[in-house]
């Protein structure tokens, strides 16, 4: 039973990180209908900047720099690179983001080289003992930050002008433009936000107990973001949060009980989120919260 609670707690905290990742993925899709495959390498960029500069700048400043630079790069990709092909259909744009991803990930991998980069966060490798259940200090920090960020995001989405503009533009872009909402700004805002989320998620995704910052981090993160976003419904922020938690829990439990699941083969934990995604899609083809129609009475 203790094992179960340990997995539950760890799964929830990992789910919080996955939810942050999925949120950044979904915000861009919601605002622009572009599936952002460059998201993994943006996350890697965020983590890389922290890993490279925390010694010289100090951890806190390095995180701030990482957030600012990653947002700027994301906005550059979203506004400058994609504007050139703005009239293309979303499928083409998704492929462009795939190209950006390869470029960025390759360059970062080259820069990391054989260095062993770590995030240098103040929590280090310490582990807390909560009533007999063990959990890494970084994971507690991740959960607290994720909850804070998500609450702030949802409040902003619901109550601010920008939030209303984003939702209006997501639902009917042409009509939103007719009412004076600048679609270019909405898109830029979404990409900026996605960049910031990528940086924060990158920090916790590569901190202890993860092995550190390597070139493959981006792909692994994207591997968590896609099932989380898809099973939640690609255009739903609520879906991203639920999907992220589901993916974190599934992966943790499948890994934690791998002895019992040995008949499915080794490493089932890494495919388990996709199995859950497929099962959800069989029942609800547009995801848990995606594309729901409001029926008029």
């Amino acid at each position: 039973m203790k094992h179960f609670f340990e997995l539950l707690l760890n799964g929830l905290s990992l789910g919080c990180i996955d939810a942050l990742i999925a949120l950044g993925f979904v915000v861009v899709f919601k605002a622009t209908r572009v599936v952002n495959f460059a998201y993994g390498s943006l996350l890697l960029l965020g983590a890389f900047l922290i890993g490279r500069y925390h010694e010289s700048l100090g951890f806190a400043v390095a995180v701030l720099v990482s957030i600012v630079v990653t947002s700027a790069v994301a906005a550059f990709v979203g506004v400058v690179v994609l504007r050139r092909v703005r009239l293309a259909d979303p499928g083409t744009l998704a492929i462009v983001t795939l190209g950006v991803d390869i470029l960025l990930a390759t360059e970062l991998t080259r820069r990391i080289g054989s260095d062993l980069l770590t995030t240098g966060d103040p929590w280090g490798a310490s582990v807390r003992d909560l009533a007999g259940v063990h959990i890494a200090q970084t994971r507690i920090a991740a959960a607290v930050v994720a909850v804070g960020v998500v609450v702030a995001f949802l409040v902003a989405l619901k109550f601010t002008d920008s939030g209303v503009a984003l939702r209006a533009a997501a639902e009917r872009p042409a009509t939103a433009a007719l009412l004076g909402i600048r679609l270019g700004r909405v898109a830029a805002g979404a990409w900026l936000l996605a960049g910031a989320l990528a940086a924060v998620a990158g920090l916790f995704f590569t901190a202890f107990p993860s092995p550190g910052i390597t070139g493959s981090v981006g792909q692994i993160a994207l591997g968590a973001a896609v099932p989380a976003a898809v099973l939640g419904g690609l255009d739903s922020t609520t879906g991203a949060l639920v999907g992220g938690l589901a993916v974190g829990l599934t992966a943790t439990f499948a890994a934690g009980y791998q002895d019992q699941l040995a008949f499915l083969g080794r490493g089932f934990g890494s495919v388990a989120p996709y199995v859950v995604m497929l099962l959800v899609l069989l029942v609800r083809p547009s995801g848990l919260f995606g594309g729901k129609e409001v029926t008029r009475v």
Partner: protein, 513 residues
């Protein structure tokens, strides 16, 4: 205050299709300017050119200009046009369904300078008290008329100097049309110029000061609305007589649709309560009623989309209420949709072929291998599609993409697709919504012919009273989910309950001359 000036405007789509061929008109700083014309005349294109949204629809200004307050609107982007004070209410309302009413209004105020927001709020509250009542509700749950009010109110939140209205009366009951008309007049009187694009010429001429008639991209007639209203040309074209369909032959038989005591509830709202009606085989039965009366709900129950909480629906000795939609379709029941449900990028022929799906026996493998049976079947179906296109006068556009056709023809495609399934019972959801009197008269004649030739039983839901009265053998009237009257058109028209609930005093003169 500045005027809006359109000068010698030429617009084309995709570099080929000429939509406007030299339109010039002035919009004074106050009052209502009406732009009349049939489907495909270029009315919506004109509004798009003014609001700079042509590019979003694949169109471009070839020559000419749109000027407002010394600025060239045709060179701006849509958001800048709104900031210059010109705001469009799009056709088909286009409310943000997943946002609440209050959020819809707020979305439009984002571009509004802060000092103008408060007065804009007050104005919307005064014109549309109903929107205040329902502020916290999702806009998708409003009725058609309420959504139109929201769409207009939303545009007013942008504090416009010029308001562009695209077909605000489309698909609304006469009483609601009347109400919207009064609001448009009021907006014009309050110092906002209004450009009203309408097919409902009676409404447009009543509420406007000046009117222009647009035909195939040109202004063919201009004048004060009072003058135009008395012009014979206008009367003939738009206020035309009622359709005169000959009473068609009756087919006997036991294939009567019997609806008995059907009730449907959505949450706490009774959408239908204890509704009963009989559609005799071979007859045309009309279901009418104001917005939100439950007409579309009733069709959805018949086709298995909604489940009835109580009651029964019987057709061909089968109980329909427990069947899934595709099983009902197999009983040769076909329907059309109020808001077109066509594939816009496919050709007319392909859309019609889709309607043949029910009758297709060749499977995926047989079709892929092009076996002899599959080829013969396809040839037969293409033949049937050709025949139905002919009946509907669509044979000329069979290989055009549906998205390029004007609205009236798309409605015909929708009807054709339903006919391709060789139905014995045809359910029509507002077949003439958005058509001119002239077009709806032609469609009435077509439907009367189809019914005679194809031995159809027809149940139709409609707002257009003239259309219903000329075509139906029997009429059932719903109001707030209850049946309030039924009988022949003549009986129903005299029923005081119906007049009160549906037509209203003023509208009665319009709809039933």
């Amino acid at each position: 205050m500045p005027d809006l000036r359109v000068r010698d405007l030429h617009v084309s789509y995709g570099g080929a299709l000429k939509a406007l061929r030299g339109v010039s008109l002035d919009v004074p700083s106050e009052g209502v300017v009406a732009v009349l014309g049939g489907n495909g005349a270029g009315k919506t294109t004109l509004l798009r050119a003014i609001s700079a949204t042509l590019r979003l629809c694949g169109g471009a200004v070839d020559s000419g200009s749109v000027e407002f307050a010394g600025k060239r609107l045709d060179r701006m982007d849509p958001a800048a046009v709104v900031r210059a004070g010109v705001v469009q209410v799009p056709e088909g309302r286009q409310v943000f369904e997943h946002l609440t009413v209050a959020e819809n209004l707020r979305a439009a105020a984002i571009a509004t300078p802060r000092r103008l927001r408060r007065p804009a709020w007050d104005r919307v509250h005064e014109l549309f008290p109903l929107l205040v009542e329902r502020a916290a509700q999702h806009a998708g749950l409003l009725s058609g008329g309420e959504q139109q009010m929201l769409a207009i109110g939303r545009a007013l939140m942008a504090a416009p100097l010029v308001l562009l209205l695209d077909e605000p009366s489309l698909g609304l009951a006469p009483r609601m049309v009347q109400h919207i008309g009064e609001i448009v007049t009021e907006i014009g009187r309050q110092g906002t110029a209004v450009v009203l694009v309408e097919q409902n010429a009676a409404l447009a001429l009543r509420v406007s000061n000046v009117a222009h008639v647009l035909e195939t991209g040109r202004v063919t007639l201009s004048g004060t609305s009072a003058q135009l209203a008395t012009t014979e040309e206008i009367k003939d074209r738009y206020l035309g007589g009622r359709p005169t369909a000959a009473p068609p032959p009756r087919h006997g038989g036991s294939q009567t649709l019997v609806v008995q005591g059907v009730s449907v509830r959505f949450g706490g709202v009774a959408a239908l309560s204890e509704v009963s009606l009989r559609v005799v085989a071979g007859s045309v039965h009309a279901l009418i009623g104001p917005n939100g009366a439950g007409k579309s709900t009733c069709l959805n129950v018949l086709t298995g989309v909604y489940r009835a909480a109580r009651g029964s629906v019987r057709y061909k000795d089968t109980e329909l209420t427990t069947l899934r939609p595709h099983r009902i379709a197999r009983l040769a029941v076909a329907r059309t949709f109020q808001n077109l449900a066509l594939s816009a990028s496919a050709t007319v022929a392909d859309n019609l072929l889709l309607g043949c799906h029910r009758l297709t026996r060749a499977g995926f493998v047989a079709a892929g291998l092009r076996t002899r049976a599959a080829r013969r079947e396809e040839a037969e179906q293409r033949h049937r599609v050709g025949r139905i296109a002919e009946l509907l006068e669509l044979d000329g556009v069979l290989h055009d993409a549906v998205g390029t056709l004007p609205y009236g023809q798309r409605k015909r495609v929708e009807l054709g697709r339903a006919l391709c399934a060789e139905p014995s019972l045809l359910l029509l959801d507002e077949p003439v919504a958005g058509m001119t009197a002239d077009e709806s008269a032609r469609l009435a004649a077509t439907i009367a012919r189809l019914r005679a030739e194809l031995a159809l039983t027809i149940l139709l839901v409609e707002h257009d009273m003239a259309f219903v009265m000329g075509l139906a053998d029997e009429v059932t009237v719903l109001d707030f989910g209850r049946r309030i009257a039924s009988g022949t058109p003549a009986q129903v028209r005299r029923d005081p309950e119906v007049i009160r609930a549906y037509l209203g005093q003023a509208a009665k003169e319009d709809a039933v001359p």
